[in-house]
Symmetry: C2
Subunit: 254 residues, 2 copies
């Protein structure tokens, strides 16, 4: 880690300058935060698992034609990605009402929505990532109408694919957050999926028991947080040997 130049330290990842121009390295930490960083903690091995899960999901999405920033996993905690200009919008797709939506709209958590709902949040930690509508996005120039249409189209395709992927391993995809970015090629700009896809950024419920298998276990102090992340990785077939995680956890603390 120390040889590389850090560009940005976020809540769950550190970004380093990449080995090639136009690339960056995402280092996945075990740090966990919730409620806009009011609650802090660590989830042992999370960084390793989120690195693996994100790699798997990005590769699968590329296979169905979703452009992504992912290039390759470098090691247990790092992946090389294309550097992008992040569109300052967090895109949330919801299939089942939960979390802030249940609270804000007075709806029951667990209610199946009549159709997937796409929400936008303005990416600004100081403001607490406020919800916005396409009106704000377009009027304030955070994305062009063409970009927004593409973002919604990709998000719904990703939702369909990942609903299937998760259902195949006995999991309901309740909701998830995506970020998109721009890659510039002369005067042209291409939208790609960026950031990560992991239990940090989605809600996953066991299809039979409805047991939570995501960061809500941490947010709500439900216990079994590490085990839940491991179980998602195991069902996806990307759980590393536990010995490997343990040795990495030692690395990280020494």
């Amino acid at each position: 880690m120390s040889r590389k130049r850090p560009i940005y330290e976020g809540k769950a990842k550190v970004l380093y300058e990449g080995t090639e121009p136009g690339t960056i390295i995402q280092y996945f930490k075990d740090d966990a935060t919730a409620f806009n960083a009011q609650k802090r903690g660590t989830i042992a091995g999370k960084g390793v698992l989120n690195n693996m899960i994100t790699e798997f999901v990005m590769l699968r999405l590329a296979e169905i034609g979703i452009p992504t920033h992912f290039m390759r996993r470098l090691n247990m905690r790092e992946q090389l990605v294309r550097k992008v200009e992040i569109v300052p919008i967090e895109v949330v797709v919801r299939n089942i009402c939960a979390g802030s939506m249940a609270k804000r709209l007075g709806l029951e958590e667990g209610m199946k929505l009549p159709r997937p709902i796409v929400e936008f949040y303005y990416k600004d930690d100081d403001l607490g990532d406020p919800m916005v509508s396409d009106e704000h996005v377009l009027a304030l120039g955070w994305a062009t109408p063409e970009e927004l249409e593409e973002i919604v189209g990709y998000s719904l395709r990703i939702n369909d694919y990942l609903c299937g992927l998760m259902r195949g391993i006995g999991i309901k995809l309740v909701d998830f957050k995506l970020e998109f970015g721009r890659i510039f090629d002369n005067e042209f700009s291409q939208l790609v999926l960026a950031d990560e896809f992991s239990p940090d950024n989605c809600r996953l419920w066991d299809a039979i028991t409805n047991e939570k298998m995501d960061k809500d276990r941490f947010r709500r102090d439900l216990g079994g947080v590490e085990e839940a992340y491991q179980e998602v990785a195991r069902r996806l077939g990307v759980l590393p040997e536990s010995a490997e995680i343990e040795s990495l956890n030692k690395d990280a603390t020494t």
Copy 2:
């Protein structure tokens, strides 16, 4: 079986009058045909497995908002569905080049297509289900422009979802065939997914070994046909106890 009034006997299923008005019963046979019925045989237990697999897929697709004809499974070989007016088009979605497409276009079987390709075939056994374009569909009035747009939209969503579902259980969805139908409600008509989804109508390759897990094993005399259908059902979590299948096979022959 014998108490119900048969409406139509197809190659893989028999349709009976349903127990309620506007419904029919699909009875899944073990009969298998290929190359427009020039090759004939049976696949022991296929009807049971295709009944289970179709039920599972139709329920999952309904969950993501695809309207289907499926109402409920009645027993090991039968399911109750809404009676529809079948749109006389077989819709084929391809992710990887295989079968007739490889042959017709001189392409290599196994070539990943740049994007999913939607094909239409005119449903007419005597003509050998000839390939047609949207021009034929629209000019000959087999579907309205609005219906065709809806059919393509549903087919691509189904493709995304099922690619994910299959990938979750270690299977590549190479291609598949769908049929749609109309349900009339006074002057309005609604499109729904009809017929079946089973290894009879799609190509499924193991994600690691590329081993074929579908009717191509029968078409190409590769052996292990029953085992392949069973393995698909097992991975989807819908394989009935083998004792149940055996007793049903006995039923069917007595």
